[in-house]
């Protein structure tokens, strides 16, 4: 036991929190099979073996399943191994993000919000789509994300194997430039809307004079700002000048 704790020695020095955290989330609906598969003595022992001792479960509409999972066997194991298990029904997305930030391993349904949050904070994540839901586009997302190595696509029957795989898996980093791409499109469209408006105005009133204005776009303006930017720092358009 002592040897296992020394694995997490770094955490001990910095904060009173010992060990690592797991966050299990099922979303707003019920995903009882995930809770049933997760809250077993085998899985808890395995997690404890990997140095995890704080378990947070967001069980959604599955409170009865969550409560029923605490068999005497599991309870004695929890007491003996000093693992803390806490459950919540559902929380606001900001709180969910907090749980994700605190955890080191996320086991999640295939909700896109949770997946993106986990990737944003570069956490190990096992995604298990809820097969009982009608629409299967969540499963598609999970498969595609797993194919590109952003997440591990888990299976309920192989949860133990998935957890041990997550310990050494090389997760790919999710690109962070998405919003910037979108904002460029948005700004282009604003310019285009302005042009449309001016063209409409010009056709009705030909005296409008726009020749004294400098013709460059937001994008060019931002690039110009970048040219004047201090070398080595990251410029306002996101490009780093070397």
């Amino acid at each position: 036991m002592a040897a296992r704790h020394s694995k997490t020695g770094k955490g001990q020095e910095e904060s009173p929190r010992v060990g690592k955290g797991v966050f299990v989330t099922v979303g707003t609906t019920a995903f009882d099979n995930l809770i049933k598969a997760f809250l077993t003595p085998d899985i808890i022992t395995q997690l404890h073996g990997f140095g995890f001792n704080e378990i947070m479960i967001q069980y959604g509409k599955g409170k009865d399943v969550y409560d029923a999972a605490f068999t005497p066997e599991l309870q004695s194991l929890v007491k003996e191994a000093r693992v803390t298990i806490a459950g919540v029904e559902y929380e606001e997305s900001t709180r969910i993000t907090e749980y994700i930030k605190k955890a080191d391993l996320i086991i999640s349904h295939a909700g896109s919000g949770t997946i993106l949050d986990a990737l944003r904070y570069q956490k190990a994540i096992i995604v298990i789509p809820n097969e009982s839901l009608m629409d299967n586009h969540q499963a598609e997302l999970a498969n595609e994300m797993a194919k590109q190595k952003y997440v591990i696509r888990g299976k309920l029957e192989q949860l133990a194997a998935n957890i041990s795989a997550a310990q050494s898996y090389k997760f790919r980093h999710f690109p962070r430039a998405g919003s910037r791409t979108f904002v460029e499109v948005l700004e282009d469209e604003i310019e285009r809307a302005e042009k449309d408006k001016m063209a409409n105005r010009k056709s009705s009133d030909s005296t409008t004079n726009t020749s004294n204005k400098k013709p460059y776009s937001y994008r060019q303006r931002r690039r110009k700002d970048c040219d004047e930017w201090v070398e080595g720092e990251q410029g306002p358009c996101g490009c780093s000048i070397t």
Partner: protein, 253 residues
């Protein structure tokens, strides 16, 4: 007899006029027609990007709202000076998210004066409640449409403070509408088209399909594909399947 013929002819004329008008206001995307046609280039006016701009964002249920703010996370309040957030009645979560987002923007203003008046947060009636009967749905959709039209023409400006009103007066109609999936978005786009039809606005529409959609389009997406000026999808599979959809990589971050 003559009356019936006259009626028929006038209806036909109206129909032709309406379809021509709709044909002209429908978007012609760069992917389908080259941008540098003679007709287009003669209309292009060279000018600086506008000092002010008005963008309207439609917030939907949980996942859509979160994704919307992820898309917007790198906007500059100095470029997009006027921001309107629209949420369905009772969706307190979305309203709160919008306020949180605006608070996070507060630090990046260069014109401090615009800090509190740069955005408005408006509620519109729901298009369809969960488990609402299909009989009353047309009525609630109509109410939603009226709400959307009211938002677009700036019907709430009358209730604003003098300072805020003068700021918004010149930019009643949004330059760009951004939507990403909720049913309300369809009604908002329809409302936009009604104003476009009568030449009142030249609003452009950007639709962003959810990150969660890999190979199948959402219902709103299918409906808005021919109506949006820019239709962005986040997975290449969708762009291949639906011509007109653009794939520029992931847009969430």
């Amino acid at each position: 007899m003559l009356f019936i013929v006259a009626l028929f002819l006038s209806l036909l004329l109206i129909f032709i006029f309406v379809s021509l008008r709709i044909y002209f206001i429908l978007p012609n995307r760069p992917s389908t027609t080259p941008q540098t046609s003679i007709f287009q280039s003669s209309r292009i006016v060279e000018l600086t990007p506008p000092e002010n701009s008005h963008v309207l964002m439609i917030l939907g249920s949980g996942g859509h709202t979160a994704e919307m703010f992820s898309l917007l996370s790198s906007i500059s309040p100095d470029i997009i000076t006027h921001r309107t957030y629209v949420f369905s009645s009772g969706d307190i979560h979305s309203a709160k998210s919008a306020q949180t987002f605006e608070t996070s923007l507060a630090g990046s203003y260069t014109k401090k004066a615009n800090e509190k008046i740069g955005y408005r947060l408006l509620e519109i009636p729901r298009a369809r409640k969960v488990r609402q009967s299909w009989v009353s749905t047309p009525w609630s959709c109509l109410m939603c449409l009226v709400g959307c039209m009211n938002v677009l023409r700036g019907g709430d400006l009358e209730g604003m403070s003098v300072q805020m009103r003068s700021f918004w007066e010149g930019r009643r109609f949004p330059d760009v509408v951004v939507c990403n999936g909720p049913a309300t978005a369809v009604m908002m786009v329809l409302a936009c088209y009604i104003y476009k039809f009568f030449g009142r606005s030249s609003t452009r529409i950007i639709y962003v399909e959810s990150f969660a959609r890999v190979t199948t389009m959402s219902l709103s997406g299918k409906l808005l594909l021919p109506l949006a000026d820019r239709f962005l999808v986040q997975w290449p599979q969708l762009a291949e399947k639906y011509p007109g959809a653009e794939h520029l990589g992931f847009l969430v971050s």
